[in-house]
């Protein structure tokens, strides 16, 4: 497929005796709204860590628009358009959301190492950051320190930081994790309103959200992709029912 933007070939990784990623061949096309599901410990987060360069694979390749990025450092992959959020909030505690997003924007522009110019000379970055926070309903929290923010706001900031990169590929690791069911809708509203050309892969345990937002679903069990298909196909798949859905809908 020519419109595949991010792909893996034979990706594998083990932690000691535990094979967490086994020969994963995956493709994410432009504008994708794909979901990755699987029981706890299946290796979903690990796959994101491999794609973003946190872990180096034992075997296999990662291609971004056909170019091999397997050896690139995490920050270099970000520069090429792969952004992610974290399952467990991974934020800058003492910065305000406005500072954090401003920094992310400066980094995107390649200005992160400028040490002799105050933010006064990066006015447009600050303004862009504030506009992004407004878009995500975070404007009222823009000047609080991040540690003081309510959990749900921190989840939104996770997404804001990733969006500040203007990514081509967005990897969302359980964006609504820990958010009360009633409030997860707001998060997914934000996600569904993202520009259509961003390729999005999200990990999610809540099947209602998965079936609502994903055009295509990949099921991973014990580090292996066992089946891929449309929501309809996945819902009907006997293998999936057995290993995943059969054990109950949440945190099997």
């Amino acid at each position: 497929m020519s419109d595949v933007i991010l792909a893996t070939e034979g990706l594998s990784l083990s932690f000691g005796a535990l094979a967490v990623t086994q020969d994963v061949n995956y493709g994410l096309p432009k504008g994708a709204r794909y979901a990755l599901i699987g029981p706890n410990g299946a290796g979903k987060t690990t796959l994101i860590n491999l794609l973003t360069g946190v872990f180096a694979p034992a075997a296999g390749r990662i291609l971004l628009s056909g170019e091999d990025i397997t050896k690139l450092a995490p920050h270099e992959r970000v520069k090429r358009g792969i952004a992610r959020t974290f399952q467990i909030n991974t934020l800058f505690g003492q910065l305000t959301p406005l500072q954090a997003v401003t920094l992310a924007i400066c980094e995107r522009r390649g200005h992160g190492a400028r040490w002799l110019a105050s933010l006064r000379t990066h006015k447009d970055a600050v303004e862009e950051a504030y506009a992004l926070l407004e878009l995500l309903n975070l404007a009222s929290s823009a000047e609080r320190t991040t540690v003081e923010l309510a959990y749900g706001r921190q989840r939104l900031l996770e997404i804001a930081l990733a969006l500040a990169m203007k990514p081509k590929v967005l990897l969302l690791d359980e964006p609504a994790a820990g958010v009360p069911v009633g409030e997860s809708g707001e998060l997914f509203d934000v996600i569904s309103n993202l520009p259509g050309d961003i390729a999005i892969l999200f990990i999610e345990h809540d099947m209602n959200l998965v079936f609502k937002f994903a055009k295509r679903i990949t099921v991973m069990v014990s580090g292996r992709i066992i089946v891929e298909g449309s929501p309809r196909e996945i819902a009907a798949d006997p293998q999936v029912r057995e290993v995943y859905l059969g054990r109950g809908h949440h945190h099997g």
Binding site: T52, G53, V54, A73, P74, H75, V78, K79, A83, R84, F86, T90, L91, F92, G93, Q94, L95, T96, L98, Q99, A100, T102, L103, A104, C106, E107, R108, H111, G112, A113, R114, W115, L116, A117, S118, L119, R120, H122, K123, A125, V126, E127, A129, Y130, A139, A142, E143, L161, A162, A164, M165
Partner: protein, 336 residues
């Protein structure tokens, strides 16, 4: 002049853009340092020591307070700068300004050379390596008696008058003004850094080294830059001590120097720029007053104070000050 007379800044974005603007209390602080000249003419030598140690603490604050890189051997750069400045003055070039610049650049170069190692280390390993470098330099200076004077210190340092006019007088007026002006200029640089995108990226690395690369921060590069800048600043402080006292004691490279500067910074408050300066003033004045009369209790007292600060007053003197201001503002806000 007064907070309420200023036009209100419209949005959070405007306020962040204006965050680097000069505040009234900063003007007050620096005017206050000038006042020392007239108010305490008998204490100018102590005052210049405070300015110099304050600069040393400021250099550590960029590294430790902002970037979160702990260094237990920062005296390596301070001492290196002191020896470079002392040696070039002893062997024929006593011009202070160029001497200071050369010393600062040399210490910065040393920092740049060491920094690639620093980027790969954390925790105990980082402490050991930074300490090790300092011990190494101490031993080298101790052995190279022909160059450094070893244990006896570097004697015969002769500093020419500043701009050929201002001689270093016995009262210490020139020394104090010289140290103060250099401190002020370095403070301006540090202030710029803190309010720059780079400064934000340092704090981001400190707060979360896992997230920083995920927003595109090249942490290795940032550590190299901040380490170099911090080392250069420490080197300038070292040069000042050599030039204002016209002597270099081996003690400038001692472990005690490294440990003390860390204590001073924690006392004053990390990540606040002014913390190191306030810490230096509190520590050195207390030592001047107490250490001579009660030498046996001095370290005991400092130890107890440090424990108290870490346990009860996180953020040191400046942190406590911050909380006071916030409490006062909240009260004023509630009354409105």
């Amino acid at each position: 002049m007064f907070a309420f007379a200023k036009p209100a800044l419209a949005t959070p974005a405007d306020r962040l853009i204006a965050a680097a603007r000069w505040r009234w209390y900063e003007t007050a602080f620096w005017l206050g340092t000038l006042l020392v000249l007239f108010a305490f003419p008998g204490y100018l030598q102590l005052a210049s020591q405070i300015a110099i140690v304050g600069l040393f603490a400021l250099s550590l604050d960029l590294l430790m307070g902002y970037a979160g890189i702990i260094s237990l051997g920062h005296a390596a750069f301070f001492g290196f700068g002191a020896y470079v400045a002392g040696i070039i003055a002893k062997y024929g070039w006593g011009e202070p300004l160029s001497g200071m610049v050369i010393a600062g650049l040399s210490a910065g170069l040393l920092g740049l050379i060491v920094s690639p190692i620093i980027t790969r280390l954390h925790g105990i390993a980082l402490l050991m390596v930074t300490m090790g470098l300092c011990v190494l330099l101490f031993e080298a200076a101790n052995r190279a008696v022909w160059l450094t004077g070893g244990d006896d210190g570097l004697q015969g340092v002769e500093i020419w008058p500043i701009f050929g006019t201002f001689t270093f007088d016995l009262l210490g007026r020139t020394a104090y003004l010289y140290a103060l002006i250099v401190l002020f200029l370095m403070f301006l640089v540090a202030r710029r850094i803190v309010h720059s995108p780079f400064g934000l990226s340092l704090q981001a690395m400190r707060d979360n080294p896992r997230r920083a690369p995920a927003i595109g921060t090249d942490m290795g590069e940032r550590v190299r830059i901040v380490y170099t800048i911090s080392a250069a600043m420490a080197g300038v402080a070292g040069a000042l001590i050599a030039q204002t006292t016209q002597f270099v004691a081996l003690e400038v490279l001692s472990f005690q120097r490294s440990a003390e500067i860390m204590i001073i910074l924690i006392l004053g408050g990390t990540g606040r720029l002014f913390g190191g300066l306030i810490g230096a003033a509190v520590f050195m004045i207390a030592r001047d007053q107490l250490a001579t009369s009660y030498p046996q209790y001095w370290y005991l007292g400092i130890g107890a104070l440090l424990v108290a600060v870490v346990m009860f007053a996180r953020g040191g003197v400046m942190g406590g000050f911050d909380r006071l201001v916030r409490w006062w503002r909240a009260r004023a806000g509630a009354g409105r």
